[in-house]
Subunit: 457 residues, 2 copies
Amino acid sequence: MTMVIRGDVVFTQKPGCFTALEDGCVVVGDDGRVMEVTRSLPDLTLHGPSVLDTGIETPAAPHSEPSPHWKPEPHVVDRRGCLVIPSFVDLHVHAAQYPMSGLGLDAELLQWLRNTTFPTESRFADPEVAETWYRRFVRRMWRVGTLRFSAFATLHEDSTLMLMRLCQEAGLRPVIGKVNMDRNSPEDLSEGTSDSLDATRRIIKMSRIETPDVGYVVTPRFVPATTTRLMEGLGEIVREFGLPVQSHLDENRSEVDWVHRLHPDIPTYAEVYDRFGLMPEGRTIMAHCIWLTDSERELLRGRRVWAAHCPQSNLNLTSGLIPVRRDLDAGLGVCIASDVAAGHDPSMPRQIVAAIETSKAKTFEAGHEKDRPLTLSEAFYMATKRPGEFFGAIGRGRVGSFEPGYDFDALVIREEGDNPLDLSPEGRLARFIYDGDDRDILERWVAGRRVSEPFAR
Amino acid sequence: MTMVIRGDVVFTQKPGCFTALEDGCVVVGDDGRVMEVTRSLPDLTLHGPSVLDTGIETPAAPHSEPSPHWKPEPHVVDRRGCLVIPSFVDLHVHAAQYPMSGLGLDAELLQWLRNTTFPTESRFADPEVAETWYRRFVRRMWRVGTLRFSAFATLHEDSTLMLMRLCQEAGLRPVIGKVNMDRNSPEDLSEGTSDSLDATRRIIKMSRIETPDVGYVVTPRFVPATTTRLMEGLGEIVREFGLPVQSHLDENRSEVDWVHRLHPDIPTYAEVYDRFGLMPEGRTIMAHCIWLTDSERELLRGRRVWAAHCPQSNLNLTSGLIPVRRDLDAGLGVCIASDVAAGHDPSMPRQIVAAIETSKAKTFEAGHEKDRPLTLSEAFYMATKRPGEFFGAIGRGRVGSFEPGYDFDALVIREEGDNPLDLSPEGRLARFIYDGDDRDILERWVAGRRVSEPFAR
């Protein structure tokens, strides 16, 4: 059944500007994909609207339940006065670090991993801890409107599968990976190489049956924590199953030095992953990428890697300020990500602002005085369409825009009070991004289906 | 009637560390001031508790209404399991810019003033616009737990008085100033010199009668917008009434150049204010102070100026990264402020985080590699005790700490869910600062009195 969503539609087809339609319409086909965006309702008779849904007055009563079955929606969904925007996509988030948001941030990366992160992740061996916190994490992602993401779980097999099941139940469509780590890890958060590979294969097979909407992403923690034998084995899994990969790259200068000491025979950090088949073309996410060499930049561009820029994390851990303008000009696929919990806030609007702020701070660094800071529309694009194309690339539906053929993944935003300053839709979006929060999000849609709050208490 | 608040008490007596008492007590005298902080309840028999208030279960039903009259509270207020912390103090905020949070931030200061700020402020000539937005602003400050602040209104006399009355009615205790601006301002947001001075005197006199809890602060916009005749007249008012002063200083390099061109005979920007009596010792707030010369730093230290560091604003407008460690080491009274709406978020926790992040970004600037970033306890101190002492200095009660003699201005924080990671009170405070929001604030107290939500819709 074709559906029309009517409201103030704003999205980014390209980085430099918003496409905005005041009182516009998004026409969505019965496959949940966008058919067209129009300025008026010319297609209504064509598509035959039979029900007028003006559900604005009853936001507390969701019309659809999270369910594996498609439920027909009314033909016209009247959201006039609200913003209709693509939902957010976060390509780098650690689900198991959510409990420790804001903790231990007076340290840099390697000390923070040792003192704060590893002890927290080791708690996820306990299924009760995992269930409590993963439910909170999934609910929080729903709240802030991040409906697709790529998440690290922990090395624990059962709790990783639990996270995948909870996302499936909630109606979200992320990819998730069990962390692989078999060296330089604390005793209570380490695993044997074969155990690690066997568990990975089991999760891949189980999740294909149990969680069709939640994909698997191969997840070596980072080079210092993975032996060459483990990386070889993971490379085989990537080839065998045609899976995507996520990991960390060039985050912190001490980390980069360490990788050089561990692999003196391989010229750069990025080439270590590539050597072991862990940078498959067009389906790899590398987080941070702050300290890239020119040859690494060239390699990432060639492999069409999504470089997940995590601005809040990079400030919190004093990792560095990514030269984002230089990377964009070099054709790198830079997107914005939260890196919870080195980034302390799962909200992508907060990360968009942090990315813009970081690009402004960068202009005070020697050699970068002329770097043009990110604009709001650029940063919005980097949190919607660019990361959303990752899901298209791995066959899980293009998202992050309202162009024809994109899955209708969307947020309906209703701001507090009226609009006495007569702001344009773009102005209202700016206010939401900078000073709004999840209370302003009236509805969340995934692939044309409204998704209600999961695990409501 | 003496009162005891029982909970997990956290505050900062000095910048370097938290004072934390798990299940501690704050004893508050009947003048609303802290008498002592204790680890147990030894003084209960002494102070004679007769009522046990365990109001935790009914947060929606406030026990006291905003009222000019003191209402007796139960002797023991049982808030075990909650954090009890000093409420926040924001020494630089533009109340009339609240509607434009997040707008126009792809520009730098002078262009942003012209394109976004001045048009917004000029709308406050309309009392209806002013009332709508000032109510929202006051409610928002209450929500985020900033219960004392120093605010710029606009140049409009009536709406400035309206803001002062709304704060009085709400039970908040800020200082507020009508903006004075008689040059280099747009036609619909400018005033004659004598009109500006006359209106200022009228507001000072009216507010002394009508708004005893809301003080006046003399508020020249900034040097480029005030003629020497206006600055002279304002200096006279400062002397005559013994009032404090707030203004802007050394925010943006183009602004600094402009001041030099306007006053070629005066060596520095800071000395312009001082020349006209607008830097009275121990009662002056200067916002930003990014581009201070050594002689300016020395002048500010001598005048015991509160330097209001506005990290979010400084990033948003690409103004610069304040050398905060250098300023603190030089003995400057640096506090953290929001500068709404060049800072887009009125929440002081967000500003605390932004200040820490900025101090980390600064280490990537040449010559600042060794600057030690701010720690959380330092930044918390700079958002509570240090700015709170401004109110003590102007005779309106010291706030921002729980040391004896401080007004009991406090927030009771109740976090979501239980505490499965067994965090310390400081750890829970860190989580609140980094990833909490106003929904976690159960109660707000001003001078020993609970203040309920103003203008509830």
